[in-house]
């Protein structure tokens, strides 16, 4: 498939935003359930949520560049009963809205206690809204990934691995972003977030490798014999019926092909997983903030490359009809 840069930026940037929300909520929860006296200021969470919102908004903005008629974008929220794409359009603003509320209740310190448990721990409003925002973020990972995983005509995508990887890579980059933010603002949460980022990045790398391994062994879904219904084999296309390019030859294939995919696969494993883990570990051990910031920049770049490869690797069934050029 032809990767569209608007979609690459959309899926990676909102992944960072969602992951950052989950990371900060996890950090807040870590202190709530932790027995120590340590805590983090409300302003820290509010500013962190604002940074996450910037990523979510940037992703949303990028998505508009994918639409040929963005003035009708409001219509995309109408078919949520059947279309995962429509569901994403519903859930993304919901996540953004919850992030705004979460930042708001922290900033203005609106924290009435909602529930008190038998172990004297309590659930206040900021934590409750945080859980909602984090839950919505997780739902959004599933929804975004299902847009691709439900396209059964592209076997490379039609897999549970697509959902697993969108979620793990998003969480990994979000935790790295949160770790960089915490390190720069000198937060006591830094170690927790760095540890989370290292674990999730390593896990995401392993899961992505598993997805690649699965895609190496895919049987062709259909044959030319079924595509045109002729039993006299071998069948060879002489002409697709036109001499120049068409939508069906440009949208469903990628310039560079297998060579670019192979090279960029190594690149993104290095950029998105290996180097960030090393840099995060260096940052965690040395306590130097810039290491984690550098880790995040490399990881985001690596994930954009990863998303390019994900799209380029998708081989659509319709290509059976467009094997001969000109």
């Amino acid at each position: 498939m032809q990767p569209a840069f608007s979609v690459l930026f959309l899926t990676t940037l909102i992944g960072v935003g969602q992951g950052m929300l989950v990371a900060l909520v996890a950090g807040q929860w870590y202190y709530v359930i932790g027995s120590g006296e340590a805590w983090e200021s409300d302003a820290f969470y509010a500013k962190g949520a604002a940074i996450a919102l910037v990523f979510l908004a940037a992703g949303l903005l990028a998505s508009f560049f994918h639409l040929a008629n963005p003035q009708r974008a409001w219509r995309t929220a109408t078919r949520w009963r059947t279309s995962w794409l429509s569901r994403e359009v519903v859930v993304l603003p919901a996540v953004m809205g919850l992030a705004v509320i979460w930042a708001g209740v922290h900033w203005f310190e609106v924290k009435p206690v909602l529930l008190t448990f038998s172990n004297e721990k309590s659930l206040d409003l900021t934590m409750a809204v945080g859980f909602l925002a984090a839950g919505a973020s997780i739902v959004l990972y599933v929804v975004t990934a299902m847009i691709y995983a439900c396209v059964r005509f592209i076997r490379e995508w039609a897999s549970g691995w697509t959902v697993t990887n969108f979620m793990l890579m998003g969480l990994a980059s979000g935790f790295t972003a949160a770790a960089a933010y915490a390190a720069l603002s000198g937060s006591r949460l830094t170690d927790f977030l760095v540890a989370g980022a290292i674990g999730l990045t390593a896990l995401a790398g392993v899961a992505r490798a598993a997805h690649l391994w699965r895609n190496l062994h895919l049987a062709p879904p259909s044959t030319l014999r079924a595509a045109i219904g002729v039993r006299f084999e071998p069948i060879r296309q002489i002409t697709p019926g036109f001499g120049g390019p068409s939508f069906n030859t440009t949208e469903f294939s990628v310039h560079g092909g297998a060579g670019s995919i192979r090279g960029l696969t190594w690149d993104f494993f290095l950029l998105a997983f290996l180097l960030p883990v090393l840099l995060l570990a260096a940052g965690g051990l040395s306590g130097e903030g810039p290491f984690t910031v550098f880790a995040f920049v490399l990881q985001l770049l690596g994930l954009i490359v990863e998303r390019w490869v994900f799209f380029a690797q998708g081989r659509h069934v319709q290509n059976l009809y467009y094997q001969a050029q000109g």
Binding site: R79, S83, S222, V230, P234, P240, G244, V317
Partner: protein, 244 residues
């Protein structure tokens, strides 16, 4: 069963002349579904929107080969996978006749429907920014100002070989249904469960067995053309009844 309009394409008859392609383009670029714009039409790499293409395949190994011309357009699937994925409802299937259409006023041009079509039947119009596809000439087939025999898709009317039939494939009495039943009409890639409405009629090998006495006219032993000699009433004959 409800009405399902569709095309039936006879691969045994198609000669690959592309008359259906050009008539489709001509009709639809100037009508309700148009325009079907071209980019760089007179350049080295012309590109454009077509609802119908004729592809050519070669089957077998030389010298035992066969050329197959394969017209391909939207198959108006009964379980069209392109419809539920549309986020705006622009891609829809008409309940009254099963035609799959795109509402250009609702389409946002996200191209997601084209990803959900295994047949590559949809083509994106870069200029208008909407997805386009075969409409079965919906602006012809219901046009009561046309004489009834002309209320057919442009491609069907244009085909000089009569390789294209149009009708309700759920009505077993229709010409299209009869052709499918009589000639073992089939669907493309049924394994995807799309249940395409358009059907194709297979290549049919037509063999004629000739016996020796059919090669030489038994009643013209002298191989002289002209008025036949009138044999005697009792002379031996082919049917062993009478030479008269």
């Amino acid at each position: 069963m409800s009405k399902q309009l569709a095309l039936v394409i006879d691969l045994n008859v198609c000669v690959g002349c592309h008359a259906c392609v050009t008539s489709c383009k001509e009709w639809n670029t100037s009508g309700w579904a148009g325009p079907l714009p071209d980019t760089n039409p007179y350049g080295a790499q012309p590109s454009g929107v077509f609802f119908n293409r004729v592809q050519t395949f070669e089957c077998g190994t030389f010298p035992r080969t066969e050329t197959i011309h394969f017209p391909k357009s939207c198959l108006h699937c009964v379980d069209a996978p392109c419809v539920p994925v549309c986020p705006t409802g622009a891609s829809y299937k008409r309940e009254e006749d099963g035609i799959v259409l795109v509402d250009y006023d609702k389409c946002i041009g996200c191209k997601y429907c084209s990803w959900s079509c295994p047949y590559g039947a949809r083509e994106f119009d870069e200029i208008q920014g909407v997805m386009k596809k075969c409409t079965l000439c919906i602006d012809r087939i219901y046009d009561t100002s046309l004489p009834p025999e002309r209320r057919k898709p442009a491609c069907v009317l244009a085909c000089p070989a009569g390789a294209r039939l149009f009708g309700d494939v759920n009505d077993t009495e229709s010409e299209a249904s009869r052709a499918i039943i009589d000639n073992a009409g089939y669907q493309l890639m049924p394994e995807w469960g799309t249940n395409p409405a358009n059907h194709y009629l297979p290549r049919r090998k037509i063999k004629m067995t000739l016996h020796k006495d059919e090669l030489v006219r038994a009643d013209n032993p002298l191989k002289v053309e002209g008025e036949l000699p009138k044999p005697h009433f009792n002379a031996p004959s082919i049917d062993e009844m009478s030479s008269w």
